[in-house]
């Protein structure tokens, strides 16, 4: 049987830029987003949030709020506590306040909730809840937090005597230290990857509908991981899991922001249970930016030990992460600093040692994998910035330095110094192709000439390797749940099919691409396959969509279940053709007897026979389910080249060109892959140029709305030139890797390297993100003073 069928366009299997089926409803305004859901008798909830970063709560007066016309109830932490729900577990094994009872620990923390018949009344009520705060000093950096004598933020936790959230370390310290002691050169870089926020344009929300008679809880929720959320709801709220149905409707972008369970979800569900009516809560934008899962906030010092000719011998990293008030990173249990292990990048060297401490601060909790596979963005940024630093310090061209140190194609599978086994790659080819497309030699010549004239031109390179598709069950779990995923395929008598997924789209186009996988493997046209996802009553179990795991895990499950179906269809075809199953071959859309293509039956004929005319002893029907446990992660990579022009008088920099080569293995739908890359590059540009969440000394969040938290518009966003190479993953059934996050992971270093490169001859080695014009101007000013 041929597994690598290339299908004609009417089948629309792998490799076709099939137009998206999702579009039909979305372009007519018929999407069904969370806030579009309205149930009979539905009430509305507004949250009361703390205006201050650190304070003791001496009392909450709800009288005026309760008196507002339309307000039915005001929920406080005290009430939640009576039901054992004032605190909830986080995804990292900590606990988080649902509604504050003792203290508030960050600005924006949830203090009370007002339930009303209409959203305006709920908001009026929330304005009138009067909380008596006794101010405490705010701790706004992890350095302050871990200093001697710092006030204890988590004073409610038994055994917590300081503000340390966790420590983590990996690699061989002794071998790394020995390599550094023997090195010709040591290059180091200290930088802060600032706090950022995924900020999907749709905020988070819930409609909780708990039926007090039947006990059925139907929960519509902006969830990237509905099955995991159902299990966690069952565990936290003590509801029987079979009575909980989570429905994640159309999602207006996620980017990691919709992975955690937030206090608003818990309060709305409790309120629906207590009042006996559906309760809707939709976050305000400010609520979203100041309280829900942020990304990054890592202070990093990285060092490379090198020979004089630029061969890397070892890498050493020391980090401090700002966790906010609760340790609620959404990441696999064993990985305290996510998959930071990939900080060894695309390079072949034997030793690394990495250590990290996480600290509590008076800031919002929730280090989510913001468009990245658990801290890979930070790791990739560090190594690629270090490569630029090393190139500048050693006087070696940054492209050449990378080429000297790359893992070579024949070394795959390659085990890194931190124990990850990269599946496949051809890094030199990728980098050379990107450099050629950019016209690298000419650009360097132009740069030299420009410097003579006092103009600043920078060329930034980043060659990143990601680790996506968590993950193998022996190592990867979240809250104890193994990170497997599933697909169920039902083929009906007319040959039309329904595919049900454990993963959940937020705009990535699963309804299109996953049907293409089935089309490839079975010959059923993609347009005849309906893809269902997001409803836990109607889909098999899975851990959801984040960390680029849909295609590596859910896509693999889909290919495997489709193969089971194709195999059964082949047996049926053999029966119909009166031949032995081993003599049946499959072409794109038919089964035929080997050597006689005329004697053929279609997959549709086989499907009909599955319900009407079966071989002796075969079970009726044509459906199956697969749970896929990936043998390894997949390791997409890319080579990015950015050219910038920097105005020496203002520090303003403009991207002249952005050449992005991505290798994500086999591309299921090239159009969608390119769309993912465009979006990812834009977020990388955003983080490097303008987007950050910062705080003043009192812990007030600066970046609490889209006037302060800047997201690039079309006007600022550069144009991108995309390239590809295709190195299939050897262990993935269709050779695919992940792509949703590559560009966000890889591009920030390319943009920053470009600006630093423009100033390198002045001696500038680093500008922290976001690379704001005033920072650039200051770097120039200091360097030329």
């Amino acid at each position: 049987m041929t597994d690598t069928t290339t299908t004609p366009p009417e089948i629309g299997g792998i490799g076709h830029s099939v137009k998206r089926v999702e579009d039909a409803r979305l372009i007519e305004g018929q999407g069904n987003f969370l806030d579009d859901i309205a149930l009979p008798g539905m009430l509305h909830m507004a949250l009361v949030r703390s205006p201050v970063a650190h304070a003791r709560i001496n009392g909450i007066d709800t009288e005026a709020a309760t008196a507002v016309d339309g307000v039915l109830a005001v929920v406080t932490g005290e009430l939640m506590d009576q039901h054992g729900l004032a605190w909830m577990p986080t995804l990292s094994g900590d606990t988080q306040a649902v509604l504050a009872t003792d203290k508030v620990r960050y600005q924006g923390q949830e203090v009370a909730a007002v339930i009303a018949t209409d959203p305006y009344a709920a908001a009026d009520g929330a304005e009138l809840v009067d909380v008596d705060y006794e101010m405490l000093d705010a701790i706004t950096t992890p350095q302050q937090s871990l200093a001697d004598g710092a006030e204890l933020i988590r004073d409610e936790k038994e055994d917590q005597t300081d503000n340390l959230a966790y420590t983590w370390e990996t690699g061989d310290e002794a071998a790394t230290e020995a390599a550094f002691a023997a090195a010709d050169r040591v290059v180091s870089l200290t930088t802060h990857y600032p706090r950022s926020h995924p900020a999907p344009l749709e905020t988070c929300g819930i409609v909780a509908d708990v039926n007090s008679v039947t006990g059925q809880a139907t929960i519509y929720m902006t969830s990237q991981a509905p099955h995991a959320h159902r299990t966690l709801f069952a565990l936290v709220a003590g509801l029987p899991e079979q009575n909980i149905r989570i429905v994640s409707p159309d999602i207006g972008g996620g980017f990691g922001n919709k992975v955690p369970i937030y206090p608003g979800y818990v309060v709305a569900t409790a309120a629906s249970l207590l009042i006996g009516q559906p309760v809707k809560w939709v976050e305000t934008r400010t609520g979203n930016l100041i309280s829900t899962g942020f990304g990054r906030d890592y202070y990093m010092t990285g060092e490379l030990a090198l020979t004089n000719d630029g061969r890397i011998q070892a890498m050493r990293v020391d980090m401090l992460s700002d966790q906010g008030a609760f340790y609620s990173d959404a990441q696999p249990t064993r990985y305290r600093a996510g998959l930071f292990h990939v900080c060894t990048g695309s390079y072949d060297f034997p030793h690394a040692h990495i250590k990290c401490r996480g600290a509590f601060t008076n800031k919002a909790p929730g280090g989510v994998a913001y468009r990245c596979s658990f801290r890979i963005t930070e790791a990739s940024y560090l190594i690629e910035r270090l490569m630029q630093t090393a190139a500048d310090e050693l006087g070696i061209d940054p492209a050449e330095l990378r080429l000297r140190n790359f893992i070579q194609p024949e070394q795959f599978p390659y085990e890194t110094a931190t124990g990850f086994v990269y599946d496949s790659g051809d890094y030199p080819t990728a980098l050379r192709k990107a450099l050629d497309a950019a016209g690298y030699e000419e650009l360097r010549a132009e740069q030299a000439a420009a410097r003579e004239e006092g103009r600043l031109v920078g060329i930034g390179i980043a060659h990143f390797t990601e680790a996506v598709g968590a993950g193998p069950a022996h190592t990867y779990d979240i809250a104890g749940l193994k990170m497997i995923d599933s697909a169920e395929l039902r083929v009906h008598p007319t040959g039309k099919a329904i595919l049900k997924l454990g993963v959940k789209t937020q705009g990535q186009g699963h309804e299109t691409t996953f049907a293409q996988i089935v089309a490839e493997e079975t010959g059923i046209p993609a347009t005849d396959i309906k893809v269902i996802h997001g409803d836990t009553d109607d889909t098999p179990y899975g851990l959801g969509t984040y960390a680029s795991r849909s295609t590596p895990v859910g896509g693999a499950a889909t290919a495997m279940v489709a193969r089971k179906i194709a195999d059964k269809a082949r047996h049926i075809a053999a029966h119909l053709l009166e031949a032995a199953p081993e003599d049946i071959e499959r072409t794109a859309d038919k089964f035929h007897v080997a050597g006689s293509p005329d004697q053929a039956v279609s997959i549709q004929d086989a499907a009909f026979a599955a319900y009407t005319n079966l071989p002796e002893g075969m079970e009726y029907g044509l459906e199956d389910v697969t749970y896929y446990n990936p043998p390894n992660l997949t390791f997409p990579y890319g080579s990015y080249v950015v050219v910038v022009d920097v105005d020496p008088d203002t520090g303003v920099w403009k991207v002249r060109r952005m050449v992005a080569l991505d290798d994500c293995g086999v591309r299921i739908n090239p159009m969608i892959v390119e769309g993912q890359i465009h979006g990812g590059l834009t977020e990388g540009f955003a983080m490097s140029s303008m987007q950050w969440i910062t705080f003043d000394d009192d812990g007030n969040c600066i970046g609490s709305n889209f006037m302060d938290y800047l997201i690039p518009t079309a006007w600022e966003t550069p144009r991108f030139e995309l390239l590809e190479t295709v190195t299939p993953s050897p262990h993935h059934p269709i050779g695919a890797k992940g792509i949703g996050e590559s560009a966000t992971v890889g591009s920030p270093a390319a943009f920053v390297n470009a600006v630093v490169d423009a100033l390198a001859h002045l001696g500038v080695r680093n500008i922290d993100m976001p690379v704001l014009p005033d920072r650039v101007w200051e770097a120039i000013d200091t360097a030329t003073a």
């Binding site: 372009i27 344009l201 979006g679 834009t682 889209f706 079309a714």
Partner: protein, 158 residues
């Protein structure tokens, strides 16, 4: 206050609170949920509708201010002849991913090509610079609006 707004060609009369935002009136009062809400500060543009043909952020206009005016939402883009060229082009050019910004982007695009049948890349980017998109990186949105402009003029020619 009693107001009458012509929404997508039909008059819609309602008794509303003076403080009711137009976006809430469209979504809840008229039940047209293709118009979205994405911020609290008039920044994101996902609430954009056309008021008398001009793009307006409906989160920053009161429903009573729209009394007696014509409002077009995404639900009103399609005509008896089928999809509006911008709708077709957004799908053809992969100008949408999650689709949350899309209704507003298409309306701004439709208004632009009404005025300017052949907008340049920069002209499209300037026109949509009040509308954020978090998914697409804008390139395909620009392409889609330009393709729609081309399709609209060739329809007009034929």
């Amino acid at each position: 206050m009693e107001i009458t707004i012509n929404i997508n060609g039909s008059d819609h009369t309602a008794d509303v609170e003076p403080r009711l935002l137009l976006v809430d009136h469209i979504r809840t009062g008229a039940g047209l949920t293709g118009t979205h809400i994405g911020c609290d500060t008039t920044s994101c543009g996902v609430c954009t509708v056309l008021v008398d043909g001009t793009p307006v952020k409906s989160c920053t206009m009161l429903a009573v201010q729209a009394d007696g005016r014509e409002v077009t939402t995404v639900e009103g883009l399609k005509s008896a002849d089928g999809l509006h060229p911008v709708q077709q082009a957004f799908s053809d050019e992969h100008g949408l991913q999650c689709g949350f910004c899309t209704p507003a982007m298409m309306l701004v695009g439709a208004a632009l090509i009404d005025d300017n049948p052949d907008p340049s890349d920069d002209e499209v980017r300037w026109a949509i610079s009040g509308n954020l998109c978090r998914c697409t990186g804008y390139m395909n949105i620009v392409k889609a609006i330009q393709a729609a402009a081309a399709a609209a003029s060739s329809n007009g020619d034929s």
